[in-house]
Symmetry: C2
Subunit: 363 residues, 2 copies
C-alpha cells in the first residue's frame, strides 16, 4: 500500500494557500514606513490605537475607547475570566459542546462552569432562563452564536432577542465570541447579540483576525463596557505592558489598505467550496449512518455517528492519516462520545472525498 | 517663559532614533518570503522554533527544547508566577528596590513577596541565607543581577557564586531576569547566574529583545528546566495558542542576518554617551546633595537625595516637564521616599544637562 499523505480535519485553521502573504508583506512595510515608533516602541496596554479605531468602526459604534486589542482573542478571554472570577469564583455557562480552550480558561481563573445544550438553532435559551428562575443566575454566558465551534450551528434571531432580554432582566453578562461571523457563505445574516444590546453593556463582543487575516498575527479584539475595559486594560498592561505593536500595526495597515474585505471574500468562497465537498463526501460515503447540520459559514461541521464509539474511531482515524477532533473533548460531562468535529477550513476540496472515504472505512 | 519641551527620565525605553527600523523592515520581508507559513500560521505555544534555537545558541547550551519565547518577557514571568504560586501560594523574594511590575505579577498569582536589600554590589545574599537558616526558605528569588532596574547596580562575582550555592543547598529557584546584560558599556563582565548553575536547573534565565532590538516586537525568552518548561508551555498554549509568529519570525530574521550584534553595539555606545552626560550633569547641578552608583551598563541610574522628599520632588518635576520615577514605587514597604530612578536610555545626551538643571532647581 503506498504511503498516504495526511488529510487533516483536525485543526480550525485556514490552509496555507489562503494566507494573504503578499498583502501582509506590503502591510508590514507600510506600517514601518508610516509609523515606525508606533510599530516598534512600547504601546498602550489596550492595543495599537489606529487598529482599535478600525475595530470600533467596523464592529462597534466607533468608540475606540471600548476596544481592547490582544495577542489573540483567547488572551482577551483569559483577561476577562481573571477579572470576573479570580479570587471570587462565580458561575459561567458554556454551550455543550463548546470550544475546549474556553472551558479550560474559565476554570483556570476560578469559574464554576455549567453547560447548556446546543440545539440545531443554537444555545438552549430555555435552559438559561430556567437556571435564572431557579436562583442560579450565571455571572457570564459564553457563547459562540454564529457558526459555532464545534457545532457549526447559528443561534436563531428569535433566540438572540430572548437571550439578550434575559441577560438584561437577570443582569448577567454575555460574551459573544465571534471569530467566524465574517465568514458567512450561505443563508441569511442574523443580528449580532452585541447589536441587539445596543449601548447597554450587557454583551461583550469578541472577534479575531485569525480567521479573517492570518493566525500568526495573533491579534484579537474585544469591545467592552467602560469599567470592564479599564480593568482588562490594566491586566493587559500588568501582563505584557502592550501587545505586539509590530503585529497590530501590520494588521492595521492591511485593513487600512482595503485588503480586509477581498481577503474575507476569498476565504468565504474557499470555505463554501470545501463545505460543499465535505457534505457531498459524507453523503456519498456515510449516508444514513451519520447526522449533521450543514453550516452556513465558518470552519466546522459537527457529525454524529449514532451507536458508534467515535472516540475510538478518532484514534483509528488519526492512525490512518485522517486526524479529527473527538466530540467528547468539547463537553464538560463526558458526552459527545458519538460525535466528531470535522474542520473543512484547512482541507482542499479535492482531498475531501478521499479523506471521508478513509474515515468511512474505519466506522 | 517659553514653553519647554518634555525631557523624560521616566521610561526605560530606547529613544526612537535607536530603533533599527530599516533592518526590521528587511527582516519582516525575509521572514514572510522564507517561511510564510511559519510567520502566519498558528505556531507552537513555546514560540517560533528558529528563534528558540537562536536563543538557545546565544544564551543557553544550544538546547532549544528548554527555551520559551513569549510576548515580552513579563508575560513569561506571569506564566512562571502562575505555575509556581497560583492555588498554592509560597514565598518570593525580590530586591529592594526592584521592578514594580514584577512585584505586581508575583502578588497577583498568589506569592507572598518579601524584599531583601540591594547593596552597591547587588542583592544582600547574607539576608537570603539568614532567611533560609531561619526556616523561611523562599520558593523563588527574583533578581535582576546585571544593571539592575531601578538600582543600576550589578551583583558581584563572589555574591553570584554564593547565591547559586545557597539556592542549591536550600533548593530554591532563582529567576535571573536579564534584559540589560547585553548592554555593558564599562567595567568587566561577570558570569551569569545561569552559567554558574550549569545544567542544574536551579537558575531560570530570562531575557528580552525589547532592549536589544525594539520594544514593539514584544518578544522575550526564558530558558527553563524541562518540567517547568512543559508547564509554562502548556500555560502559554492555554492562554494564546502560540505567541506572535509574525513578530518572532521577524526577530529571528533580524538576528539570523547578523543585525543583532551591530544593533547592540550602537545601543551600547549611545547609552555610554548618555550615562556620561547624566553623571556630568548630576555632578554639575546637584553635586554633594545626591549620591548614586554610576552604572556600567543598562538604562538606569538610581539617585538618592538625602533629606529630600523625593516623591514630592517627582511630582514637581513632572509638572516642570522632567518626568522621573519615584523611588518609593520600587519598594514594597514604603521606603525609597528619598530616591528617584533616572532612565537615561531615552534622553539624548544633548538634553541631559537641561533636564538635570530643571530637576536641581526643584530640590
Amino acid at each position: 500500500m503506498p504511503t498516504r499523505t495526511v488529510i487533516s480535519f483536525a485543526r480550525g485553521v485556514p490552509s496555507p494557500d489562503l494566507l494573504p502573504v503578499a498583502e501582509l508583506k506590503a502591510a508590514a512595510q507600510r506600517a514601518l514606513d508610516d509609523d515606525p515608533a508606533g510599530a516598534l516602541a512600547y504601546g498602550d496596554g489596550a492595543g495599537y490605537a489606529p487598529l482599535r479605531q478600525w475595530v470600533a468602526d467596523r464592529y462597534g459604534n466607533g468608540d475606540a475607547s471600548r476596544v481592547l486589542c490582544t495577542n489573540g482573542s483567547l488572551q482577551g478571554l483569559a483577561f476577562l475570566a481573571e477579572a470576573m472570577f479570580a479570587g471570587s469564583g462565580g458561575r459561567a455557562v458554556v454551550e455543550a459542546p463548546t470550544y475546549d480552550r474556553a472551558i479550560l480558561i474559565l476554570r483556570r481563573f476560578g469559574a464554576t462552569v455549567e453547560a447548556v445544550d446546543l440545539q440545531r438553532d443554537g444555545l438552549d435559551v430555555d435552559a438559561i432562563e430556567a437556571m435564572c428562575r431557579a436562583g442560579r443566575t450565571p455571572g457570564l454566558v459564553y457563547t459562540i452564536p454564529t457558526f459555532q465551534n464545534p457545532g457549526g450551528t447559528t443561534l436563531s434571531a428569535a433566540k438572540r432577542e430572548r437571550l439578550v432580554a434575559l441577560a438584561r432582566e437577570h443582569r448577567f453578562t454575555i460574551l459573544e465570541d465571534d471569530p467566524y461571523g465574517e465568514l458567512r457563505f450561505a443563508g441569511t445574516a442574523v443580528p449580532r447579540l452585541f447589536d441587539l444590546d445596543g449601548a447597554a453593556g450587557t454583551v461583550i463582543f469578541s472577534t479575531s483576525f485569525t480567521k479573517t487575516v492570518a493566525p500568526g498575527v495573533r491579534t484579537g479584539a474585544m469591545i467592552l463596557p467602560p469599567a470592564l475595559h479599564a480593568r482588562l486594560r490594566a491586566l493587559a498592561t500588568d501582563t505584557y505592558i502592550g501587545p505586539s505593536m509590530l503585529a497590530e500595526s501590520t494588521v492595521h495597515a492591511y485593513c487600512a489598505a482595503g485588503c480586509f474585505e477581498p481577503g474575507v471574500e476569498r476565504m468565504r468562497l474557499a470555505l463554501l467550496e470545501r463545505r460543499d465537498a465535505l457534505v457531498a463526501a459524507l453523503d456519498r460515503h456515510l449516508g444514513q449512518r451519520v447526522t449533521y447540520v450543514p453550516p452556513e459559514g465558518g470552519y466546522f461541521l459537527w457529525v454524529q455517528f449514532p451507536g458508534v464509539d467515535a472516540d475510538a474511531l478518532a484514534d483509528r482515524a488519526a492512525a490512518a492519516g485522517v486526524p479529527v477532533v473527538k466530540g467528547s473533548t468539547c463537553f464538560i460531562d463526558g458526552r459527545g462520545g458519538d460525535a466528531l468535529r470535522l474542520a473543512y477550513s484547512a482541507c482542499p476540496a479535492t482531498d475531501m472525498d478521499e479523506g471521508v472515504a478513509r474515515l468511512a472505512a474505519l466506522v
